[in-house]
Symmetry: C2
Subunit: 691 residues, 2 copies
Amino acid sequence: MLLVVIVSFFAVVIAFAFAVYLYLWVKRQPSENKRIIEVSSLIQAGANTFMRREYGILARFAGAAAILIFLFLPEPVWNGNLIGHIAMVIAYLAGTVLSAIAGKIGILVATSANGRTAEGAKKDLKTAFLIGFRGGSVMGLAVVGFSLFGVMAVLLLTADATILLGFSFGASSLALFAKAGGGIFTKTADVAADLTGKVELGIPEDDPRNPAVIADNVGDNVGDVAGMGADLFDSNVAAMASALVMSQALDGGFGPNTALVFCYAALGLIASIIGIACARVGKKGDPTGALNASTYTTTAIFLVLTAISTPLFPGFQWRIWGASAVGLIVGVIIGITTDYFTDDSKPIVQKVAHASRSGSAFTILSGVSYGFLSALPAMVGIAVSALIAYMLCAPLGEGYALFGIAMAAVGMLSIVGMIISNDAYGPIVDNARGLAEMGGLGDETIRIADELDSAGNTVKAVTKGFSIGAAGLTVISLLGAYMSEVNEALSGMGKELLTGFDILDPTVFFGILVGAAIPAVFSAMLILGVDKNAQRMVEEIRRQFREIRGLKEGKKGVKPDYDTCIGIATSGALKELIPAGLVTIIATVLVGFIGGPSAIGGFLLGNIVSGLLLALFMSNAGGLWDNAKKYVEAGNEGGKGSDAHKAAVTGDTVGDPFKDTAGPSINTQITVVSLVASLLSGLFAAFSLFG
Amino acid sequence: MLLVVIVSFFAVVIAFAFAVYLYLWVKRQPSENKRIIEVSSLIQAGANTFMRREYGILARFAGAAAILIFLFLPEPVWNGNLIGHIAMVIAYLAGTVLSAIAGKIGILVATSANGRTAEGAKKDLKTAFLIGFRGGSVMGLAVVGFSLFGVMAVLLLTADATILLGFSFGASSLALFAKAGGGIFTKTADVAADLTGKVELGIPEDDPRNPAVIADNVGDNVGDVAGMGADLFDSNVAAMASALVMSQALDGGFGPNTALVFCYAALGLIASIIGIACARVGKKGDPTGALNASTYTTTAIFLVLTAISTPLFPGFQWRIWGASAVGLIVGVIIGITTDYFTDDSKPIVQKVAHASRSGSAFTILSGVSYGFLSALPAMVGIAVSALIAYMLCAPLGEGYALFGIAMAAVGMLSIVGMIISNDAYGPIVDNARGLAEMGGLGDETIRIADELDSAGNTVKAVTKGFSIGAAGLTVISLLGAYMSEVNEALSGMGKELLTGFDILDPTVFFGILVGAAIPAVFSAMLILGVDKNAQRMVEEIRRQFREIRGLKEGKKGVKPDYDTCIGIATSGALKELIPAGLVTIIATVLVGFIGGPSAIGGFLLGNIVSGLLLALFMSNAGGLWDNAKKYVEAGNEGGKGSDAHKAAVTGDTVGDPFKDTAGPSINTQITVVSLVASLLSGLFAAFSLFG
């Protein structure tokens, strides 16, 4: 155990050191174009404004949550030990703070790397790719480093796995704000900028006259960099926490299973570091290929490293290795099938583009249909990996079967450092493209930036599928963790323990149906939030074009008021997010107090099942529409300006909040609900109407 | 028992007699306008063509199914008794035949009533309403009469509840063809007619020059009359069958519980007869109000009649009465909340219409969001009614709790005769509106027909919500019936019995995830089927306008070739339907042979949960878009021809296959899967990989 702890801390230290090295490397790259520096610093300032306000509101929320946690978790404070309650509060706050720091670092690097990537693209593809990718990698390493460090610190200091759930809940709280809030922000700005700029005035995308253009670029950063980082921080912590809750129960404290969890997490981090270090592309190479190659390399390294080290543990648990290998491989397969549905060189996107010829209704109908179909392989993949992991590990003894599923989730998330690097690369090169345009770097540079951007979009779909799959497996193991928690509470009260959640038990069934409706309601509230907020911003943009003289004509020296737009996007995003978050939490609490612990088991299941379905549907349909539009813009089916193009733009506008706001936020919603349920399990066991 | 049987048969006889009376009454109404008679008979001929071909294909399918049933159900024929197998086959075929006859009667009356309603509208609203409503009632009475008669005959003749499941499966097979096939037909014609007529050529809806116009009117009949009738025949039989499987188990054969099921079904039929007889509207009255009033009257009569007769049964089972009352009341509440989301005098539809001002993307986004939100009340309603029914009946003894849920479903479906009457009223008055236009009956007549049509649309949303709710409760009790069947098989093999389906059992979980993906895949295949088929028909319509001289100009005596369009819609609908149906059945079989009986339990649950969610979402979003378009056309948000109107038309086109093809077919898909699972349970228990 001690050896593993030392190795893990060592991995964390290497990760941080490597992140610092990459950050300094990025900073050393030339940044000379004044216009780019100016705009880039506007983006940085805007992102900081959003994050300051977001963290401000979050701090109040976290403060209130901390007080409730102190009073009631894991049981009312007047029954329990004071120190445990204080530890829980500290763990919760640590979870929010570490995730926030990782997000802050990600934004800092991304907003430094975007301008430098644009200037690198003036030199060649190879340089620009490296700057974009390494900029993203800093965030990847920071997220994984902080999450592993945090989990280890909490567990080693308290030796109480329940407190880990508090840490995980902290990470989830932050992710809810960062992912859903950032998602509303980014789409508010994007939709409003397109509607007024492209549609009403006919000025190009990223035109600096548009008052929303900086907000749009800020959105890429806060939504896709900080938001995605917080989301995967959350999933990664949740996967480790649920595996550790079970391993601690299996080991009766620290033991070989707990050591194995840490070992796998550390080896995943090391594999990601090697993968990141190796990623590069030739002068005229293929950036998509390079990104995918590093993902496969990382996967292979992780599988080899764990295959070598697993026999070193007492009892040579190859079954557990098998479970995590299955998880990882299925994750990669989900990524590949997602790619099939969203890549514009494959038939599906082309079919949707073709359907657009008959009008926007057919863009929508075909996109919705393929979006529904795309859910099947991922759902079956998750189902099969859970089944195999369970069957593999069940012979090890009681409790090992669910632990196997948890280890499949840990395996799937082992390469998360690489995944985040790929993901954060996207908004950096997207920003770089806009900056190259605004900085007037010439057509060849914009072409290179476009190529980098297109790779970012393709890889993003893959990583999104991967992260939904990982969340799916994680929450299954959270369901197991929830049962451990409930039974601990029940045994403390001398009540009968739960042996499972029977579908035919009416309280379970009640929970399932209500739980299944929640992701739909949550998504709807976020999408309506984007809609409302975009309307506000459209009003403001129209006002500026009306009232600021010379802006429309592009008179020299006349600038739009970027800050007001950023302010609207910020305050609106946070205002729209809070009701959606509260509805899900209140629904959980209501179901718990009405139906008791069994109803909550059903509630979590319903939430997972419909959440996975809707998240996959919305993410993939959104990606599909986005790429169908790009495919038409590349000159197919009539090209830009044709009726098919108009229809494809409608599809893309519908897809935007699907894929960047609602779809990926559902992951976080599921984790939040699971953790709230686990943490409140003692209360539900004690007080409920039908339980 | 004997008394109940006599009363039930008596109720069936009255229903048939009343149906014959109403049919003759409709036939006696004047039908004089030559043009109307001509078009009306074209519609009748087209509907007959479709149904003949549909029944032809169905006959082959049913023949193949009958052979498989004979060989394998309930266990391989070489193990079991020959007579039981023959009885099962006969019951299966009887289920298809009775439902087919009811559908055929519905079409016959509806296509006679449509022209007479149009001519009645020339006189006044009161007369036209009565003809339309009474025409629909014939179908309602026939469906309920045949379903009650069939269920009683099968049970009394065989005294074996398992064979009832065979009858129910027959009804489901037919419903799958009628509802999904009819749904593809109707939307193929509708979409193709609109695209070429309204959009490309700018000619009005229902213009006789359009070659697809007859197919469109045929579609209303085969989709909404025959399809909806078959769907509710199926739900009603399934609800009675699952209640009877349980009551037979509770009674150990015939006994008070079985008698109670028949009694409630018969009283529901009597209540519907009274409700139908009382329905009428003043000369200048409000048809929506009249339809709703008869629904409420029927509900009240049923509650009173059952409250009076329940104490006559041994043991005064007021708890069971309570369960069925809860089911019925929740059904009505679901109908009312559905109305809130889809009625154009309520805020939601108006908001979507308003959002259309910003373009079609916002019509879609807001409609999708409210569609998602609309699922919540219905899901919670079903969850709560199941919970209350279970809790009410659990104290009666083991097995009564699930029986309570089954009785809630029976209660909800008790007024199904009234529901079908309201529902079949819709397409009759919709046809009448078109006929009034084609027959040149003048503006005042068209206005009256419009008013009747609008009432039909509003009430349709309510009955659709009701039928989804009923299907939801029914399939929960089918889940219970499935467990009884599995356990019978398992005990026959001397294997350990199932005590439930635990979510944390990996085979159950595997089944849940796969089952949840199936309704999405099924819907996607149907929507893509409509899309493909509409493209074929659009080609044909363009060809006719190109090749038939004088058609476009409306030259006298030049007629389009209506039959070819009907032929395309027919063959395409059946071609697109079969793969979708097969995928769901094959998925069920695969999951069963891989995961065994427990996996199928999970599969059914996943299927129910995601099926309910998607069915509610698609039906309500579709209704919402339809009425938003109508709201704009009534002169709001810019009125006809405005940008908002174009966007609203896009919404309506997307919504059409949602609400009339995919959404309502999911019900049937769920029932089919549940029955396949129950019938194959013996095979799954004997042969499976992980079971």
